[in-house]
Amino acid sequence: MRNSVPTSSIGKLLYSTNTTQQQQQQQQVSLDVDVMLTGELNPNHYPARRAAQVVLHHLNTRYGSPYWWGALRQVHKATAEALGDSGRKYSLEVTLQDQISGTKETCTAEVVFPGGPAGGPPQVTTSYEGKSEINTQAQEEALYNQYNTSQNLLSGHNLPDSYGHVAPGMEPFWHLGGVASSFVMLKESSENTLYNMAQVVSVTQLATENNQLRFNYDVLLHEMVSQEIIHWKLLASWSPQEGVKASQMELLPKCHHCEPPQEH
């Protein structure tokens, strides 16, 4: 398979072919970290992986629910090109997996990271057409009906807890927290970030409005590149018909002076 050699503004190149991971690894050369690569990217390297993660955040905002929560499993191909006004576009082929059912799908996607001083969230388009195999309709309707009530509004915290456990019955609200967090993670993402939701600190149900179940979420996001834990509040609304929406997203400051007492 012929190597395709990308262009690069400064010296060093990075290239890959349709070969196994091992061969790709052996073909790599050293990277000048300030170079913004264009052309074909090594799909196992971080620039492609970060862009692919953004695709998953986008898909979760569109298709996520208490019973569908996508995660990145593999990047097969990736290219990047510079756009006018210093924006950059990634073209990707990825495999994603629903973390609940385990179903995998492959799709292509484009991610545009806008440039310039205004910046702005990445723009994503994909070939993904919606969940094909697993039908979550029945589960979603059952959950919706169960919680479409003004009595015994749901509340929970620490999903998962310190030991990785999610309280029984709370899993759909952990998933929902992850999906709602994707709205934040999508808008906060850049080529220099890689976000995952670390934990739902708390979830509190509010009264249903306009046929949408509504929940106040308090979440901790983990940003891998800085290793920071970032605290956000948001309002998630959901129905099987409308899907998930997030609003009133608010960044909470890192609390430096809220140290709990020492144990001794």
Binding site: Q99, S162, A198
Partner: protein, 355 residues
């Protein structure tokens, strides 16, 4: 001394009265500490505990030294866990690893039994003891750094121990803000934890074949260097062994681990322990980032401890076996060649004398 007295007391009480250690749950530090004593008591022939440093809060940093005592200085495989407090699967893996190698050692004629004649394993179950204890308190599960206080006008706690080693310290992938999760400290080795590892291994580095440092999450095997301007002289070999280890890991439970330098597959960084080890001349140096890929992240469910440890063990053992083979089978080949040479010379002499 204290440890010997405790040991004798427990022996008198009978080892049977000690609870069986559950390797499938996360343990607070006091339980890990007790477990280490138990390992020592159960395996006095090949285990010793060495205190090689102190944390900021003056707690002991201990390693378990495991191997047959030959009286000579042996080659060493180093493993440390828990350098980042919130990565709980890491100390869990060190506990699993020790249990496994001891189990395998006791099998007569096993490869591990042979290896322990020639090599010692130095395993630190929890390096960042203060940070790990802090992560068990209410509301601080996601703590990463050690617990040294901020200096000057900066009042936040903690230095990122994996940015504090003396290798291109403070250059890239590190923060000078003491409130940051990747704060590199006031100077290289400003943290007593990183200083302890460095001081201890500096004296022994000529005998250290392998340095494995265990982290989570991300499912990665990282090879030196974190600074993109440095290339390890045996980069090709490190990649080859790392990729083979990842292939072994995938066979266990189907999980994929990516392999590469940190600047390639994760992010550039400086001051890491893995980089220091390679620069110090330890030929094989790897960072393992264990499960998962972000679903649970640092809070990996306890049900996943065993499968995560099983696959990590197969990867670690692949590397250990390679390193051992390279070091000792080469020596065996040399010895065999010498023996053949002597035999040949003897035959010739005999033949000559016969005429």
């Amino acid at each position: 001394m204290m440890l010997a007295l405790v040991g004798m007391l427990l022996l008198q009480m009978g080892a049977a009265t000690r609870a069986i250690h559950d390797y499938n749950v996360y343990h607070p530090y006091t339980e890990i500490d007790s477990w280490m004593t138990g390992i020592l008591i159960d395996n006095p022939d090949i285990v010793s505990i060495e205190r090689y440093g102190q944390t900021y809060e003056k707690r002991d940093i201990n390693l378990l030294r495991i191997g047959e005592r030959t009286g000579a200085m042996k080659k060493v495989a180093w493993m440390d866990c828990g350098i980042h407090a919130r990565e709980w699967i890491s100390p869990a893996f060190c506990q699993y690893f020790i249990k496994q190698i001891l189990q395998e050692y006791r099998v007569h004629g096993s490869r591990m039994a042979a290896m322990m004649k020639e090599m010692d394993f130095y395993v630190t179950p929890v390096l960042n003891v203060d940070g790990y204890i802090y992560s068990w308190l209410n509301g601080t599960r996601l703590w990463r750094k050690n617990r040294s206080p901020g200096t000057g006008s900066c009042s936040c706690y903690g230095t990122d121990l994996n940015r504090n080693f003396n290798v291109t310290w403070g250059t890239i992938g590190v923060s000078t803000n003491c409130c940051s999760e990747t704060y590199g400290g006031t100077a290289a080795l400003s943290s007593p934890e990183a200083a302890s590892v460095t001081r201890y291994l500096e004296q022994r580095k000529a005998d250290v074949l392998l340095f494995l440092t265990i982290h989570s999450y991300g499912q990665l095997i990282l090879v030196p260097y974190g600074n993109p301007n440095l290339t390890a002289p045996n980069y090709g070999q490190l990649m080859k062994v790392g990729l083979a280890a990842a292939a072994e890991m995938k066979k266990v439970h189907g999980m994929s681990y990516r392999v590469g330098t940190s600047p390639d597959i994760l992010y550039p960084n400086s001051g890491s322990s893995r980089d220091w080890a390679r620069l110090a001349g330890i030929p094989y140096s790897f960072t393992f980032e264990l499960r998962d890929n972000g679903t649970f992240g640092f809070e990996l469910p306890e049900e996943q401890i065993q499968p995560a440890c099983e696959e990590a063990y197969s990867g670690a053992m692949h590397i250990i076996n390679h390193v051992h083979r390279e070091q000792f089978n080469a020596a065996v080949s040399v010895a065999t060649a010498s023996l053949l040479g002597v035999l040949l010379a003897t035959c010739v002499t005999v033949a000559n004398n016969a005429f």
